[in-house]
């Protein structure tokens, strides 16, 4: 399947009349020995929401870079509304055609919202910035695109949701009507995602076209009309989402038929005599209170809830990353002090923290350095590290977790997202913990790595570890024996394995099922 197939005669007929707002044909790009794109193509029609999906490393970000004019393709052509794209040097022209809202903020936090809207093209009078005019124009832009944020607010105080809208409004104010959203929902909770989708539909009806990048296929079906799949640097398929059921979409992304290989927890029974490894009683902290539960060896407990529900606070307290003010955490019968990672490690708690880029990895260091960071005092006499033992430990973890790497000495910065996440898990496992705390363990990894990571979790359960999975993603929670749902800092519901998606989502969102 080297050539992309084009499904959907309906769109074909329409496209013969309408001109695509953006079209990229035969795009190839190499970086040294790596082929990032191999004669890839995409065609986005005006007014549609077009999904771009593919596994990590499929070439999505390279294509986005080329569509936004940040990189020039080696071969191939980009056209906007039938016209050839401007030269890469002409940033102004690109900005009038296309904008990308990245996961990472591109606003300047210490300036006001208004200034951010007009960065580097402030309204002037006699060569000086005309502040009153800037404020007035900023109000107009925000009002026109219905962004409910005061223009004099400090941009750094915006919530993620507001920040995205401000960035969209900024792009629209330049005249661009084609906007790329790079995983816009990754940092939003359920309500915020709903609001974002409402806004996307509104803007769409006003003639704005979106290219939507997401790992959450459900969202693709919810918001997009058309989807393009990339795999291994190639274009695989472009089709209306309605013509492409989820299994076929996943198949196009992975190149093989996939069913999640890990076992659903329903029907699994944890022996009643399995010892309790983790006991949490009346735990309270900054954003949670009166949380109690216990986990036996060989059991997986999930905690779900919105981002602000306090679930992360509970998990970080158990891992020693955060503090608790009252209540107790008991590991194998011995109480854990508050807020000390070394103590948590000594008690046998391993943790995959919330973000691999923030607390998870030292990107410049090697796989071996990162995985053995939690056990650096156990690799030789007097704190000295035996290179051989370090290599052995690392190689064992690489094999056990299936990390694709050149070897223990490769810097983690050059690994793919899924493999980086496995290194974080390796770091948690290196200390041979009895209790594992996994916070959003599959965030930002592709379908296949997700499957591999969850399969590892299941293996660890069989080995008799007590596992706490704290996640907002239903797939992560599927392996849990019980799922606790938190809202506003307290546990509000408990679902036994075998829950239905609707019931769980309803209790996470606080609506009656």
């Amino acid at each position: 399947m080297s050539q992309g197939e084009d499904l959907g005669g309906r769109v074909q007929t329409r496209s013969s009349i309408a001109v695509p707002i953006v079209e990229a044909i035969g795009i190839s790009k190499r970086y040294g020995a790596t082929i990032a794109l191999n004669s890839a193509q995409i065609r986005v029609m005006p007014g549609e929401s077009h999904a771009l999906v593919g596994r990590n490393g499929a070439g999505k970000s390279t294509l986005v870079g080329i569509l936004t004019g940040l990189r020039a393709p080696d071969t191939g052509e980009v056209r906007f509304a039938g016209e050839p794209a401007p030269s890469v040097a002409d940033r102004e022209a690109w900005r009038q055609r296309v904008a990308c809202v990245y996961q990472h903020s591109t606003i300047i936090p210490d300036l006001t919202v208004g200034e951010n809207l007009f960065i580097n093209h402030q309204p002037e009078r006699n060569g000086l910035i005309n502040w009153s005019s800037l404020r007035r124009q900023a109000d107009e832009v925000l009002a026109r695109w219905n962004v409910d944020v005061p223009q004099d607010m400090r941009a750094g105080d915006l919530k993620v949701e507001q920040r995205q809208l401000v960035e969209i409004a900024r792009a629209l104010s330049y005249g661009a009507r084609f906007i790329i959203l790079d995983e816009p929902t990754a940092q939003l909770d359920g309500d915020e995602i709903k609001r974002l989708f409402v806004r996307i539909r509104e803007l769409q009806s006003q003639g704005v076209t979106f290219l939507f990048i997401s790992h959450h296929l459900q969202e693709v079906y919810e918001i997009c009309q058309q989807v393009t799949v990339l795999r291994d640097a190639r274009h695989i398929i472009s089709a209306p989402v309605a013509d492409l059921p989820k299994e076929r979409l996943i198949e196009a992304m992975t190149g093989e038929q996939v069913h999640f290989g890990f076992a659903d927890a329903a029907g699994r029974v944890v022996p009643a005599d399995a010892p309790v490894a983790l006991k949490v009683e009346g735990l309270a902290g900054e954003d949670f209170e009166n949380v109690s539960f216990s986990i036996r060896r060989g059991e997986i407990i999930g905690i779900s809830g919105a981002t602000s529900s306090g679930r992360i606070g509970v998990a970080e307290a158990i891992a020693g990353l955060g503090k608790f003010t009252s209540g107790s955490i008991t590991i194998e019968g011995s109480p854990l002090p508050s807020g000390s990672v070394p103590a948590a490690l000594a008690h046998g708690v391993g943790c995959v923290p919330k973000s691999r880029h923030i607390e998870g990895l030292v990107l410049g260091l090697s796989v071996a350095d990162n995985t053995t960071m939690t056990i650096a005092n156990k690799l030789g006499p007097l704190g000295f590290i035996s290179p051989k033992r370090r290599g052995d430990v690392t190689r064992a973890l690489i094999q056990r977790l299936g990390i694709v790497t050149e070897g223990p000495e490769q810097p983690v910065s050059s690994l793919s997202g899924g493999n980086q996440q496995k290194v974080v898990l390796g770091r948690a496992l290196a200390s041979q913990p009895t209790v594992l705390v996994l916070i959003d363990p599959t965030a930002g990894v592709d379908v296949k790595s997700k499957e591999a990571l969850l399969a590892v979790v299941e293996n660890l359960r069989r080995e008799g570890k007590a596992i706490l999975v704290v996640s907002g993603e239903l797939e992560d929670l599927r392996t849990c024996d019980r799922v606790l749902v938190m809202r506003h800092g307290g546990v509000v519901a408990e679902h036994k394995a075998g829950w239905s998606d609707n019931a769980l989502v309803a209790s996470i969102e606080g609506i009656a099922a």
């Binding site: 943790c351 410049g364 960071m373």
Partner: protein
């Protein structure tokens, strides 16, 4: 497309690639060696005396004090912090140590403590200043750059104030010991610097504390999540750096034979130049002791060659600065290629 149909075939290029990467990482350490060799060749052309063992000894001797303070700064930079005040410690600590020993008539404090106590005071003052810097940076979370800049000025002012700007002469012999006592023809200071670099290099590579410095410099949050006591380690490094800078000050005291109120003034620029040329990153988390040492030696050789070439002394500084710039550019290219 005949790529990795079977795992055996794909494993081989992977393995050779990883060998290549490790080899390149070592090469980066050696990036300055060609420049150093070139300088040695230039030196031997400029003056027949250059390769003379006596001249080599001179280069090593004159570099020893700088080496100790560069070592101190490198350790701090690897954790992602700064210490500008090291140059003031370099003058302040030996001066205070001397003034508790020498009589009031020689501008001492009049305490006339025994000499060994004076030497202890030198090291203790260095450690104490490092402790205070660490407290301000770690506990009060003040910006390291600005805190240590203030400390630099405070210490310099205290030194000038305590000595009324005068130079301290006729110190007890022990204050000159690092330069006067020799072993195998080289002064103690050279051996001390060599041993210090060797130990630091080994600890950075093979000890958990050393690896912790890189982890903290690379990503302090990740280091904390892995159980490293980030604050304690940084604080400890500040104390150690203070002691090393004080030792460097003792070495230069022996070299010069006196302590002026200006001792170390402006030295911090040379220190940063040597460390950065040697591959220690200003952003933290990167660099090796071998690299830092080649940085020191490069600057030492440059000084020596310029002197031997009888460059007019008014021009030495300009040329010295230009050579530092040139080395930075070379080091950048050597590093840049590796990154791709």
């Amino acid at each position: 497309m005949s790529v990795d149909k079977n795992l055996g075939a794909s494993a081989t290029p992977g393995a050779s690639l990883s060998m290549g990467r490790v080899a390149i990482a070592r090469l980066r350490d050696l990036a300055l060696l060609p420049a150093l060799v070139a300088l040695v060749i230039v030196g031997s052309l400029v003056s027949p005396v250059f390769l003379n063992p006596n001249n080599i000894t001179t280069i090593l001797t004159s570099s020893a004090a700088l080496a100790l303070i560069v070592l101190a700064e490198s350790l701090i930079m690897i954790t992602g912090k700064f210490d500008l005040s090291l140059e003031s410690i370099y003058g302040f600590a030996p001066a205070i140590g001397a003034m508790v020993v020498i009589p009031a008539a020689q501008f001492g404090f009049g305490m006339e403590l025994p000499t060994w106590a004076g030497i202890m005071v030198v090291l203790a003052v260095g450690g104490l200043v490092g402790f205070v810097n660490g407290f301000l940076v770690v506990q009060l979370r003040l910006n390291a750059f600005i805190v240590t800049l203030a400390m630099l000025i405070v210490l310099r002012g205290m030194l000038v104030g305590a000595t009324s700007g005068r130079t301290l002469f006729d110190l007890p012999d022990a204050f000159y010991g690092l330069m006067v006592i020799t072993f195998l023809g080289l002064p103690l200071a050279v051996w001390l610097a060599a041993v210090a670099f060797l130990i630091a290099g080994l600890v950075l590579r093979y000890h958990r504390l050393g690896r912790a410095l890189y982890a903290i410099g690379g990503n302090p949050e990740a280091a904390r999540a892995a159980g490293i006591r980030v604050e304690r380690v940084i604080w400890g490094v500040y104390v150690l750096a203070g002691v090393l800078a004080a030792l460097g000050g003792l070495a230069i005291t022996g070299y010069v034979g006196a302590i002026s109120a200006n001792q170390g003034n402006g030295l911090i620029f040379t220190v940063f130049a040597a460390a950065v040329i040697g591959g220690i990153s200003l952003d933290g988390g990167k660099g090796t002791m071998f690299g830092a040492l080649t940085g020191v030696l490069l600057l030492g050789v440059v000084q020596n060659v310029l002197t031997l070439a009888q460059v007019p002394s008014f021009w030495i500084q300009a040329i010295y600065g230009a050579i530092i710039l040139g080395s930075l550019i070379i080091a950048r290219f050597a590093g840049g290629q590796v990154q791709q």
